[in-house]
């Protein structure tokens, strides 16, 4: 501890260099936290999925619909106790700059199947009894400053025209991983406005027992194998993950970019530490002459590297945590419950430790091995 002022004094030697190196580490850690949080948020969405729910989509891709006639056939499959269906709407509100998800759902079966979507009883009644009613997440209400009973017009893109809804209910998710910025309306309104030309985008099933999932999936997919719309039946977790894989191998991409950023900043930090060490060859020799041991000087250089990287990491990881929590960032609706988890912070700090060791080791070893006589010959 007595030597800490010496470490701080050395860091103040080139204030700009220290500042830029620290900010470089901070930026790298901010990006790492952001990218990793995309992956953990997507995984969290899949992890909270109910084991007793399954999703059925078109085998080709989720963008291809399924016939409405499947509803009764699905309900008749042994082990299936409830069926619901939904459609992606894909409209724009206002200038379209703020994206949020819109779904048309069968109201009664949807609310029964997803108890995590918590709606006050009176508002639930209103939603169930008015064709143009909308059920809106609390977060989305706050984004636009909407009020209960307000009319909202959304411009359809997949289903053209202006669609006006009345907000009759506001939901609050009981689990963080469920988006509180979705706009949900009734499937029968979509069906009516499109003159019954729309069919479900996907079905959701509730099972009697989670253990029946493999058998149910096999039965359903076999049932529709030779139809015009063959199905792909998955557990809700796999179904949620299939949304993610629509973007390609997001996890691999995010982790690769994250690691590349960390590696790049390792080079920068190591270079800065090497420059610092080279400039101080004479001073290291003087300190050794005074009586500082090789080990103490090794520790001093490592402490400098550690302080720079740790400060950067605290700024980057803490900044990411506070920024995303403070702004309620949700990836434009694609990343509900987006959060820099404690796990991400821990991994970030672990990487910081490795970064400190990797960037400080070479200059610290150089200081450790420095021959006093040879070094003094250069400065004297």
């Amino acid at each position: 501890m007595k030597l800490l002022p010496l470490v701080f004094a050395n860091l103040r030697r080139h204030r700009l260099r220290t500042l830029l190196t620290t900010l470089g580490v901070a930026l790298a850690m901010f990006l790492f936290a952001s990218l990793r949080s995309v992956v953990t948020t997507l995984n969290a969405g899949a992890e909270v999925a109910s084991a007793e729910r399954m999703g059925v989509q078109n085998k080709m891709a989720i963008v291809f619909p399924l016939p409405m006639s499947y509803r009764e056939r699905l309900a008749a499959v042994p082990g299936v106790v409830a069926v619901s269906w939904a459609n992606w709407f894909g409209g724009q509100y206002g200038d379209g700059k703020v994206f949020f998800a819109q779904f048309a759902v069968d109201p009664e079966s949807y609310l029964a199947m997803y108890p995590e979507v918590v709606v006050p009883p009176d508002q639930k009644e209103a939603f169930l009894h008015e064709r143009t009613a909308a059920l809106v997440g609390q977060g989305l209400m706050e984004v636009f400053g909407w009020k209960l009973g307000q009319d909202v017009t959304i411009r359809g893109t997949i289903f053209p025209g202006d669609w006006t809804f009345t907000i009759r209910a506001v939901y609050t998710p009981s689990v963080r991983a469920i988006d509180d910025r979705s706009f949900i309306f009734r499937y029968d309104y979509l069906d009516e406005r499109t003159q019954h030309r729309v069919t479900p985008g996907w079905y959701a099933l509730k099972l009697q027992d989670a253990a029946l999932a493999p058998q149910v999936a096999h039965t359903i997919d076999a049932m529709f194998e030779n139809s015009s719309a063959p199905t792909k039946t998955m557990t809700e977790k796999a179904f949620n993950q299939s949304f993610v894989t629509m973007w390609g191998n997001v996890q691999f991409l995010m982790n690769s970019i994250g690691m590349a950023v960390v590696f790049a900043i390792l080079m920068v930090t190591a270079n800065a530490m090497m420059m610092t060490a080279r400039e101080r060859t004479g001073e290291v020799a003087v300190l050794k002459t005074i009586g500082f041991t090789d080990r103490t000087l090794f520790g001093l250089v490592m402490a400098e590297a550690g302080l720079v990287t740790l400060t950067g990491a605290v700024l980057g990881l803490g900044g990411a945590k506070l920024l995303y929590a403070g702004t309620g960032f949700n990836g434009f609706g694609f990343l509900p419950g987006f959060d820099v988890t404690a796990g991400t912070v821990a991994v970030g700090l672990g990487i910081t430790l490795l970064l400190a060791v990797a960037s400080g080791a070479v200059p610290a070893l150089r200081a450790y091995r420095l021959s006093i006589v040879q070094a003094l010959r250069h400065v004297e």
Binding site: K2, L3, P5, L6, A9, N10, R12, R13, G282, E283, V286, L287, K288, T289, I290, G291, F292, T293, D294, R295, I372, V373, L376, V379, E380
Partner: protein
Amino acid sequence: MALVEVRNVHKSFQRDSQVIEVFENLTLDIAAGSFTALMGPSGSGKSTFLNLLAGLDRPTSGTITVAGAAVNTMSPSALAKWRARHIGFVFQSYNLLPVLTAAQNVELPLLLAPLSKKERAERVRIALGVVGLEDRMVHYPRQLSGGQEQRVAIARAIVSDPTLTLLDEPTGQLDKKSAQEVLTLLQRLNDEFHKTIIVVTHDAHAAEKAKQVLHLDKGVLAA
């Protein structure tokens, strides 16, 4: 018994394929409380001799004993700890750390000793007082003259009350007036505080201040 005992010291360097002999069979005693000037032309081995006494370098053969400790047999780690306790070293080019104030520079050797912050501050104040720079404690080296910098370096060398104070050309970069101040200070340290001082110089005027003058030429000592 002498404070410093140098016995049959041989020192050579290897430069490429050439072996350079610095000393052969060097033997010398230096008494406690003495003020010795070591003179000689450039390349005569004066600085190498000082480095050997401080344990910064090792003899090729022979023994060096300082206050009963065999310097040439200690491990690097033990040598560093021994140096912190027994050696004060002053360089020609001061070698103060530019990021530290005068007081912080002087405090450096004390950071290695088991002293409280208050004790360290008191010793720093006394050392800077001895060299006449008590009013320059918070000044950085760049804010001091060359003479003042060298006096701070001397304060750093004596602050831990070392057994032996070694100075390598301490007036080599100073003007006449500053050099005189430094030499007077060294005399005072020897006379009043009984410090054992060995100063390497090729300035005859500087050597005059010492009580004993040794000449080193081509590795051979002469009184």
